[in-house]
């Protein structure tokens, strides 16, 4: 290997460190400022260390309410999207039929339209259909934009899935349902967890579609958007830090390779055949 090639390495590594620092900067600020004792209503300037916010994380009732409604919505939407998307991914993986291309296209399309477009379209639909907007419409719209991510995540895990275990189970006399519950589902668990986690964070994060289709529902992002005018209590930072810690734990769990999920994370070491 020539020396010039080697010399490029420290620069690349330095660049990587700088980018990671940039990516984590706003997050670290949030974690740090959960320990701040702000003067006044806005927790934006460092004043001094305190544990008070962590001892009273639920001190702001409106914030707690918004946080809980976001949690409920994200859990419901993620579960719904994972069930719907999981069904699609399974069906597409087990039948390899010509003409399924349009289904895959339909799955990818929502990824190519900005949230503001989706919000406008769904609002117009709900207005025209005379559907009162609230938790129900939010569940519909959130499960929709999570659906593609859930299905494609599972589809990626299912490509290269070895179905011979299922065949063995059926040869041994298991019914299709038994096979699914006892063989397929456990092997799919890490992928399902990844899909759930991704959907949950997409839904929990959403601002625009919620603003358009939620009626008067106040979610966590909507509360924060309004907080810049009213007050930014440090409890926002505490709750966000908690969510981050929880997602990190779950992410670690879903990255753990499930048994029989070949190369779940380690993408093509042996590349797929070119088309």
């Amino acid at each position: 290997m020539s020396g010039s090639h080697r010399r490029a390495i420290p620069w690349l590594a330095l660049w990587a460190v700088a980018v990671y620092a940039l990516l984590f900067a706003p997050i670290l600020v949030i974690v740090l400022f959960s320990f701040n004792a702000p003067q006044g209503r806005f927790n934006l300037l460092w004043q001094g260390f305190t544990l008070a916010n962590w001892l009273h994380p639920l001190a702001v009732p409106e914030l707690v309410q918004a946080f809980v409604s976001s949690l409920r919505l994200a859990l419901a939407a993620a579960a719904l999207a994972t069930v719907l998307g999981g069904g699609m991914a399974l069906a597409l993986a087990r039948r390899r039929r010509r003409g399924d291309g349009w289904i895959e296209l339909l799955l990818v399309l929502p990824l190519t339209s900005p949230e503001i477009v989706l919000g406008t379209a769904l609002l117009s639909l709900f207005v025209q259909a005379n559907v009162p907007m609230g938790f129900g419409t939010l569940l519909l719209s959130h499960s929709l934009f999570c659906l593609s991510y859930a299905a494609l995540t599972l589809q990626a895990r299912l490509s290269g899935f070895d179905w011979s275990l299922e065949e063995a189970a059926e040869d041994l006399g298991a019914s299709p349902l038994q096979t699914f519950l006892r063989v397929t589902l456990p092997r799919l668990a890490p992928g399902l967890l990844a899909a759930l986690l991704l959907s949950f964070s997409l839904s929990f994060d959403d601002y625009v579609v919620t603003l358009f289709t939620g009626g008067a529902t106040l979610t966590f992002p909507l509360y924060i958007a309004g907080s810049f005018q009213r007050e930014i209590p440090p409890q926002i930072h505490v709750l966000s830090t908690l969510v981050l810690a929880l997602s990190l734990a779950l992410l670690a769990l879903s990255l753990r390779r499930g048994p029989g999920a070949p190369g779940a994370q380690e993408a093509p070491e042996n590349p797929p055949p070119l088309r």
Binding site: Y20, P26, I30, A91, T112, E266
Partner: protein, 297 residues
């Protein structure tokens, strides 16, 4: 092979597909297509969400006249932000793909982790960092960099917050994972051995980058650019939270048109124009990507 399918007929697979398809057709295709007739309708009164269909094509000319300049500005800002994001992401993707080794999954995961925090929470983080009395501006003052940066246009009136560069930076930040993940997947396929071959043939780093890495990374590049440009063009949060009153983009205008002015037909017309522009960009500007390069966990 056919053994497994014998017990699982087409009925079962359609049963599994049907609910998801119903969701996609009823909540995505239908409302999006519904925007077309809606864009030709007329509201029944000021601030009324009701309307009737009159085939009013003028909605389009009015929208183009009103929002044409803002549409162009939004594309320009989005292009700038995506270019900045690419500049940030490409070397990082090279590092992960070629130097990551067994740490590759962890290094890739680290890129995504900040995005598990809600984007509006991150806005609080940015506001804290960029504030007038915040740490970043204090650092720049200490280093005597305020004046030079002001001359370069990166600071406006001695401020970092509520400026156009802050909006571009915020948008670029959001685009980084969309670019890094597909790039890592494609660059991994290039493989370190090809780089060593280039080095053995006396190619310097620049030639290797230009003649080997860059051309081979194009599928991932196309996928990444598509995925990052789409949310960037329609973004609402960054201009609202990090920009000044003159930094509003097309997303903010559309939000105002729908939620404040409550003009559904004109909003629909503007949405159709925006989607058409994006479709053109995706189809003609960025083709060559494949679905295998989508960054999915």
């Amino acid at each position: 092979m056919s053994g497994s399918r014998r017990s699982w007929g087409p009925e079962v697979s359609w049963l599994l597909l049907a609910p998801g398809l119903a969701w996609l057709l009823g909540l995505f295709v239908l409302p999006l297509l519904g925007l077309l007739p809606l864009s030709l309708a007329e509201p029944l009164g000021r601030f009324s969400l009701r309307f009737r269909f009159t085939g009013r094509i003028d909605n389009y000319s009015e929208v183009l006249q009103h929002y044409g300049p803002l549409l162009l500005r939004s594309l320009l800002v989005a292009g700038l932000a995506t270019a900045l994001a690419l500049l940030i992401s490409y070397p990082l993707a090279c590092f992960i793909a070629f130097r990551g080794g067994r740490w590759r999954p962890l290094l890739t995961g680290l890129v995504v982790i900040p995005f598990f925090t809600a984007s509006l929470v991150r806005m609080i983080g940015w506001t804290t960092l960029l504030a007038d009395r915040g740490p970043l501006l204090g650092l720049l003052r200490g280093l005597g960099l305020v004046l030079p940066l002001e001359v370069l246009g990166l600071l406006q009136d001695g401020r970092l917050l509520n400026t156009t560069p802050a909006v571009v930076g915020g948008l670029a930040y959001n685009a980084v994972p969309f670019l890094v993940l597909p790039l890592v997947v494609t660059l991994q396929r290039v493989g370190v051995s090809l780089l060593e071959a280039a080095a053995d043939l006396q190619a310097g780093p620049w030639i290797t980058l230009r003649r080997v890495i860059w051309p081979l990374s194009k599928p991932g590049l196309a996928a990444g650019l598509t995925l990052s440009l789409v949310p960037t063009v329609g973004d609402v949060i960054n201009p609202q939270m990090l920009g000044g009153p003159n930094d509003r983009l097309i997303g903010n205008a559309l939000q105002n048109l729908v939620l404040v002015q409550r003009q559904l037909p004109r909003s629909a017309a503007l949405t159709v124009v925006l989607m058409a522009l994006l479709a053109l960009l995706v189809l003609f500007g960025l083709r060559g990507g494949s679905r295998d390069d989508l960054p999915l966990p």
